[in-house]
Amino acid sequence: MIRLTKLFAFGALAAMTACGPLNEGGFGAALGELAQARVAAIRGQDYTPPQPEPALAVVLLPQGGERRVASIPSRGLASFFTLAATNGDRTTWTIAPGYSLIFKGPMLVGTRGFGDDLMGAVAPDIRQIRGQSQSIQRRIEFLDGNDQIVRYDLTCAARESGPEQLNLQGTVVATTAWVESCASPEFVFENKYWFDRAGTLRQSKQLISPSLGHLLAQ
């Protein structure tokens, strides 16, 4: 005779109905949130899981500070991010309730809160893109399903792809687009950058991770 006890003691049934302080934050809460997310999805609503109080985020957000528009199409996310912190030449932009984008200048070097985040990156200087460098060295880092940081080194090449009209806030802006093509044995992807005639970067589309796709930032 063999008894399978603990597997089921905390199983699905327990999860749905368990209550009391000893059962908080466990399987039940997680399953409850999953169920709510599913209901919200059925109703066509966005569901945001309850987040811990961003106790310090309020302090960090500069009042009336800079904002950066970002969109992650694969997540259906398009919003303003607010400058939350500056660390040397890197800036962290956040939006409640728990998403962060990290840039080095205009180049994306990290994300947090999206799931399969870009955990770290060595990105080129934007001048290498405009200089149409053919030997741009990039490194991107992800967290895999086994808690390990996996690193990929890529060689990228930039080229001008021609003039494009961008509609920014209802204003049509004439830009020139540059494409950065990157390849490694594991990945092939392209980033794209739009510069206006003054040479100012007006928009970029940069890879976050294979599952999240690209970030479109202005």
Partner: protein, 701 residues
């Protein structure tokens, strides 16, 4: 000058183009389909291939009079093991079925190349009654991208159709399995051999057509009339509608319809690859002037205010501060991580919060995770390192190299902070347990309600208890209890299910301590588990940076009354073990316990688990004592398999909960131990370097 971003507008862009650009290029791999034995294979025959490393396949199959439920674990890339529970109808002369457990082993010793096939050797049902006892040598090769050919040589049952004389000249003796559960060394690769083989055509990525020639003649089943064997050929289709589900339908042996269904889980591939926790608080970087400060004005910010504020703000990261000492240049915090499975993630997030709250002069941050009320290690980080490394590539390794790990430094100077939460905690939850492999009731489910409660007298001294009431199912009758000459230490467990409803499962006082550097202690007294009450004392030596731990435990216990009240029966005993734990390379963990067991028998338990960095564990153990196989009864000695799955792996949300189970024999008296909750090693190990480093990738998460 760096170009600036000047215009802001919400954008919705098409996803197709962006997603297509980020394309991982997979290697061309053949994903094997699952056979009737719940392992990669043809239909009833094996192939040389293995599943993806770490894959766990739970497969059910049915044809003729054969029903099999198999659990296969790909232990390493080349090695897999299976555990199977089978029902064979009309097995005995009187028409009764047999229920049987079996174990398989499969080793691929040659990988496929352009010219050579993959080759493997395997043992089916290699210990015990040997119902499916057979061995094989098999080769598989893709002849085109979509067509795979397999041929093999089988022995035992797999040598029973058109067999020829053993190529090594070895006879196969009668399997003297006795009480079962012992490897049948004298059987392997002996007796007649026969050839088997087949082809698999991958019609679509999710659909395979299979044809095989089986070398198992099902001699006994054919003779007893349980199955009609008209042909050695089997054919059918395997369909994998989703990555983790496979079903199959086959026409087998010229008379039978066979069906399979398999659920596939791979610990290395969570559905949400790396979790979905919210972004951390960014590091607050000090200016050079601020870094140069040697102290701060306590008239503006007192130590007490700082402690209170830190306690409150760290709750946002699921950390309960239990003690804190702060000086001008350093802070030391003892905390209990209640949210993140990986302690490294908790440390990383707490440290980032502290860069925002601590006075600028504080440079050293020492964090001491608490388990069972006692500190288990000390991790010291330099605030300037956090500032320098945040958001840089390779920051995980860099901060690991600069962090200092040591034993927790004791209570000297530590201001104890009263926990804000109530000391009394309780919970009510339903439970669902299932008893299997009982000859009278092979699957016996039970649903009930469990009430649990805990009162913390001090963080390291608490009273805990739990009680249960069965609602549906459970032991309505006693069932069969095998006779034994040993004291009834476990075989009378069924009485507790029958008479102890409702019952008090546990009620005990537990105290944990740190008597010396690298040393941990525990004393637990009361109703320790459903069958035993008494006192249990344990001491553990475990340096924070050592993969090796040594422990000793002594228990004086008395068997509880069957009604699960407060009374005791006559049987009492002293048990105890010396234990060695070793966190091995290559993802394995081993444990050896030597000592005296509940029935007064002396022996040792050997455990080996494959442990994944993300918290999954799959393993097994066996116990050998001076109880003979005859005294022990069915199975000959105690053994079991077990797995543990972290729930953050399932849902992506941070939680420290795990889902775990043991599959072992409860009804035997040899090699039985007292089941004490929260033993030391498992309580503290994830606060030590070996486990830290496993999941250090989550530090900057």
């Amino acid at each position: 000058m760096t170009p600036r971003l000047k215009r802001f507008r919400a954008l919705i862009a098409g996803t197709a183009a962006t997603a297509a650009l980020a394309t991982a290029v997979p290697a061309q791999e053949w994903t094997p389909t699952i056979n009737m034995f719940g392992a990669p294979g043809l239909i009833d025959m094996p192939t040389a291939e293995g599943a993806a490393e770490a894959q766990i396949t739970t497969g059910g199959s049915y044809f003729g009079n054969q029903a099999r439920l198999t659990y296969t674990f790909q232990v390493l890339a080349r090695v897999s093991g299976s555990f199977r529970y089978s029902r064979v109808g009309e097995y005995f002369a009187d028409g009764d079925p047999i229920f049987d457990r079996s174990f398989d082993f499969h080793f691929r010793f040659l990988d496929e190349t352009d010219y050579l096939p993959a080759m493997a050797v395997g043992l089916r049902d290699f210990m015990g009654t040997g119902l499916y006892s057979s061995e094989y040598l098999v080769a598989s090769k893709n002849v085109t991208d979509d067509l795979r050919v397999t041929a093999g040589l089988g022995f035992g049952r797999m040598g029973s159709r058109s067999g020829f004389a053993n190529p090594f000249g070895l006879d196969r003796p009668v399997n003297e399995f006795g009480n079962g559960g012992i490897p049948s060394w004298d059987q392997y690769f002996r007796g007649d051999a026969a050839v088997f083989g087949g082809i698999e055509w991958r019609a679509r990525d999710d659909l395979s057509l299979k044809l095989e020639y089986s070398s198992d003649a099902y001699v006994r089943e054919d003779a007893t009339g349980g199955m009609e064997i008209n042909s050695p050929f089997n054919f059918g289709v395997a369909y994998r509608p989703r990555e983790n589900v496979e079903i199959g339908g086959y026409y087998m042996y010229g008379s039978e319809i066979g069906v399979t269904g398999s659920l596939i889980v791979n610990p290395l591939n969570p559905s949400l690859t790396s979790g979905s926790e919210p972004a951390p608080v960014p590091v607050s970087v000090r200016t050079a002037d601020m870094r140069a400060a040697q102290s701060w004005d306590r008239a503006i910010l007192s130590d007490d205010t700082l402690r209170t504020a830190t306690t409150q703000v760290l709750r946002s990261e699921g950390a309960e501060v239990l003690g804190m000492v702060i000086s001008d240049r350093a802070v030391r915090i003892q905390y209990e991580n209640n949210r993140y499975r990986a302690e490294a993630e908790s440390i990383g997030r707490i440290a980032r919060v502290l860069t925002n709250t601590l006075p600028p002069s504080v440079e050293l941050i020492t964090l001491e995770p608490i388990r069972e009320g006692i500190p288990v290690s000390a991790i010291t980080l330099r605030r300037s390192d956090l500032e320098a490394l945040e958001n840089t590539a390779g920051a995980d390794r860099a901060i690991y190299d600069r962090a200092q790990f040591s034993d927790a430094a004791g209570d000297s100077g530590l201001a104890r902070l009263p926990a804000d939460e109530d000391r009394f905690k309780w919970g009510i939850s339903p439970y669902f347990e299932i008893t299997v492999f009982d000859a009278d009731a092979p699957i016996d489910p039970e649903i009930g309600v469990e009430l649990s409660a805990r009162y913390d007298i001090r963080p390291n001294l608490y009273i805990a208890g739990s009680a249960r009431k069965s609602v549906i199912g459970g032991a309505g009758e006693l069932g069969y209890i095998a006779p034994s000459t040993l004291p009834a230490v476990r075989r009378n467990g069924a009485y507790y299910n029958l008479l102890g409803d409702p019952g008090l499962d546990t009620l005990y006082v537990a105290s944990y301590g740190r008597p010396a550097e690298n040393v941990y202690s525990r004393i637990t007294a009361g109703y320790l588990e459903r069958m035993y009450g008494g006192i249990s004392a344990e001491v553990l030596w475990k340096p924070v940076d050592s993969p090796l731990a040594l422990g000793a435990e002594v228990n004086y216990v008395r068997q509880r009354n069957y009604d699960l009240g407060f009374g005791f029966r006559d049987y009492s005993t002293t048990t105890g073990h010396i234990s060695a734990y070793y966190d091995m390379p290559w993802g394995f963990h081993s444990q050896v316990d030597v000592g005296r067991y509940l029935a007064g028998d002396w022996g040792a338990t050997f455990s080996l688990d494959r442990e994944f960095e993300n918290g999954w564990r799959v393993g097994g153990y066996f116990t050998l004592t001076d109880v003979s196989a005859e005294e022990f009864g069915e199975g000959s000695f105690d053994k079991g398999i077990r797995f543990s799955m972290p729930l953050d792996w399932v849902f992506g949300e941070p939680t420290r909960r795990t889902l775990s189970t043991d599959l072992n024999s409860l009804g035997r008296d040899g090699g039985a131990r007292v089941d004490v909750e929260n033993r030391l090693y498992e309580s503290i190990r994830d606060g030590h370097i070996a486990d830290f480093s496993d999941s250090w990738g989550r530090f900057w998460r």
